[in-house]
């Protein structure tokens, strides 16, 4: 059955995680009565975006058997710099963001070169980065908070005005729905033209319909969140839109490009990757640069969400990001994991945080629980890989 429907162990695992997510939502709703409300879901979507954007990039880094512990600190440096340029230097937000991106890329060039070309373990390089760049975030503005007030810039963070509104949200949702349906049709057509075995039509159609319905349900929920003094629905928050674009871009890179293929090959067998002529060092460096771009994007969203750049921006975010990736099914041993999984992982972490918060669980217990959930996820991961034959030990 699984064979005939061409469901891989990976698809099955993603489905299980999506099931866990739904179960969590239902349980929290049963206990709190206000978990599955447009307001709460809107806030969760918004709050998850920053971690989600970075987690999507970190997922690929871990797939390639590397790690980046410095993402939180780099996010801090970039965020403070952008806010500093806007507040203290009077820059327009656009060049300030470009400067932030440039700094993020330069840092990645430095750390990535050490890892890729000198072979220094990325754990060590980025552990150093974790401390150094946190310090640098302090130095840029002398530890002073840099408030930002540009209304356009503040839209990136969501909030009151940072969403698409109902009409644009529906338009976007429907457009993507049509694109997904078209994608399924054209994939089937191409597979048929090349003599590949097709999945049963009912299954492909059902799958496409399911995803389209999830998408439209999401749009409907976001539109159903109406602020009292505004009178119209909020629609898709801009940070979530940015997160969506990032995930689509990274998933495309991972699945459809040579670079993405090489990332997985390096993670699966670095020696083989070298022997077949893959430019392993260059691919590794490019991967760090790609993550840096994601960190810069996340940084813009975060500064905008907080209306300020502070030197504590992104503190201990690396832990949430790595947790999201690992809970999302990325194996720390490399070669396995998906960008989409990182989305589910980030949502699971945020569901847990929000749900426990609504249940009035204190911060101490929340940390205890989330830490243990991470371990449960990894235990599940180990057992699942053993059962699906991916691991023999």
């Amino acid at each position: 059955m699984l064979n005939r429907l061409q469901i891989s162990a990976l698809d099955l695992r993603l489905s299980i995680m999506a099931g866990v997510l739904v179960a969590m939502a239902l349980v929290f709703h049963a206990f709190t009565g206000n978990f599955l409300t447009p307001e709460n879901l809107y806030n969760i979507a918004q709050q998850t975006a920053v971690v989600g954007i970075v987690a999507a990039g970190v997922a690929l880094i871990i797939v390639a058997r590397q790690i980046d512990l410095s993402v939180g600190s780099v996010l801090g440096v970039v965020g403070v710099l952008i806010a500093f340029l806007m507040y203290s230097k009077g820059w327009h937000w656009a060049p300030a963001c470009i400067a932030g991106l440039a700094v993020s890329l330069v840092i990645a060039l430095y750390q990535g070169s050490l890892v890729a070309y000198l072979g220094v373990p990325s754990f060590v390089v980025t552990l150093g980065g974790l401390m150094s760049f946190r310090g640098a975030a302090f130095l840029i503005a002398d530890g002073k908070t840099q408030p930002v007030s540009d209304p356009t810039f503040l839209m990136f963070g969501g909030g009151l005005d940072g969403s698409l509104g109902p009409a644009a949200s529906w338009a976007l949702g429907l457009t993507f729905g049509v694109l997904m349906a078209w994608n399924t049709v054209s994939r089937r057509r191409r597979a048929h033209a090349h003599g590949s075995v097709l999945r049963p039509l009912w299954f492909d159609a059902g799958l496409a319909l399911f995803f389209i319905l999830v998408l439209l349900a999401f749009v409907a929920t976001m539109n159903a969140y109406v602020l009292a003094d505004k009178g119209v629905g909020q629609g898709i928050p801009i940070p979530v839109l940015i997160w969506g674009v990032v995930v689509m871009c990274l998933a495309f890179i991972a699945n459809r490009t040579r670079f993405g293929r090489y990332v997985y090959a390096i993670g699966g067998n670095p020696d083989a990757a070298l022997l077949v002529g893959i430019p392993v060092k260059w691919v590794t460096l490019k991967l760090f640069l790609l993550l840096a771009a994601m960190v810069a994007v996340a940084s813009v969203v975060q500064v905008s969400r907080l209306n300020a750049g502070t030197n504590s921006l992104g503190t201990s975010m690396e832990l949430y990001v790595i947790a999201a990736a690992v809970i999302g099914g990325v194996a720390l041993s490399g070669g396995s994991g998906t960008v989409l999984g990182s989305v589910l992982g980030a949502l699971i972490v945020q569901f847990l945080e929000s749900g426990l918060l609504l249940l009035d669980v204190s911060i101490g217990y929340r940390m205890v629980i989330i830490g243990q959930v991470l371990i449960v996820a990894v235990v599940f991961d180990v057992l699942y890989r053993r059962a699906s034959g991916e691991r023999t030990t």
Binding site: Y264, A265, V276
Partner: protein, 264 residues
């Protein structure tokens, strides 16, 4: 590659040296293969045969010496250079990424792309199906990660690379070491087929039946140096073992640096 003249060497390695730190892995080794010829390379573990072949494959840089391919001096600095010269290598480890499927592994490093520059999965799958079918018609689950395949199937994936990319020269490092009798026969048939098609093959092997059944010439290495290079038909198994173990050159017959009927 244009079809080479059978009387001139396809690949010629001259006075090759390679050292790792203070260890001389390969010292002043010269070896050639002609079109349609199988040259067996023998020696103990650490004799330098795999190192020599890895230099030809571009996996290690050559310290000094010259490689000529099709009569022209060739600079091989990385695996891609070697592949571009029409040299394919089947490593003992097979060089497969276990997490990827057979199609991805066949094309690894040389993926087919669409006109948008994205991976052309369907074209690759079709091509892979064809070439793998030629090797083993029963092997159809080419879309599962290669970690779940049998040793013989994994070998087929590694060999299919050489077949698909139309190698003019092939390096096989212990191709039958992990295979059962049926799969060994498959590899032997393939070697003969490629040989008949004019491919020059370097065969690293410990297995005497492999060597005597397949090779035209053989070359024995010990401690990084060549002991001797002979026509396979001229020497006996005992003499070959004497060269491998004791480094004792055979004097009963002359050495042979070109295949029978070749330039020599």
């Amino acid at each position: 590659m244009s079809s080479p003249d059978a009387s001139s060497p396809l690949i010629e390695m001259r006075n090759i040296y390679k050292a790792f730190g203070g260890l001389h892995a390969v010292e002043n080794v010269s070896l050639a293969v002609y079109p349609g010829e199988v040259v067996a390379l023998l020696g103990h573990n650490g004799a330098g045969k795999s190192t020599l072949m890895k230099m030809l494959a571009g996996a290690y840089p050559i310290d000094s010496g010259e490689v000529r391919v099709g009569g022209k001096a060739a600079a091989i600095e990385n695996p891609a250079d070697s592949q571009r010269l029409g040299i394919e290598t089947i490593y003992q480890t097979l060089a497969l990424a276990d997490n990827l499927d057979s199609v991805a592994n066949l094309f690894l490093g040389r993926e087919l792309t669409t006109r948008w520059g994205t991976l052309d999965e369907y074209a690759m799958e079709k091509a892979a199906r064809d070439v793998i079918h030629r090797l083993n018609p029963n092997f159809t689950n080419i879309r599962v990660p290669v970690r779940s395949l049998s040793g013989g199937q994994r070998q087929v994936v590694a060999i299919s690379r050489a077949l698909y990319f139309n190698a003019s020269a092939l390096i096989m490092d212990e191709p039958c070491a992990a295979l059962g009798p049926e799969e060994t026969r498959m590899v032997h048939d393939l070697v003969r087929k490629l040989k008949a098609g004019g491919v020059g093959i370097f065969l690293i092997s410990h297995d005497m039946p492999d060597v005597f059944g397949l090779s035209d010439r053989l070359s024995v290495m010990k401690n990084g140096r060549t002991v001797g290079t002979y026509r396979t038909a001229d020497v006996t198994e005992d003499e070959v073992l004497g060269m491998i173990i004791a480094g004792k050159k055979v004097t009963r017959v002359g050495e042979c640096f070109a295949p029978p009927g070749g330039a020599a």
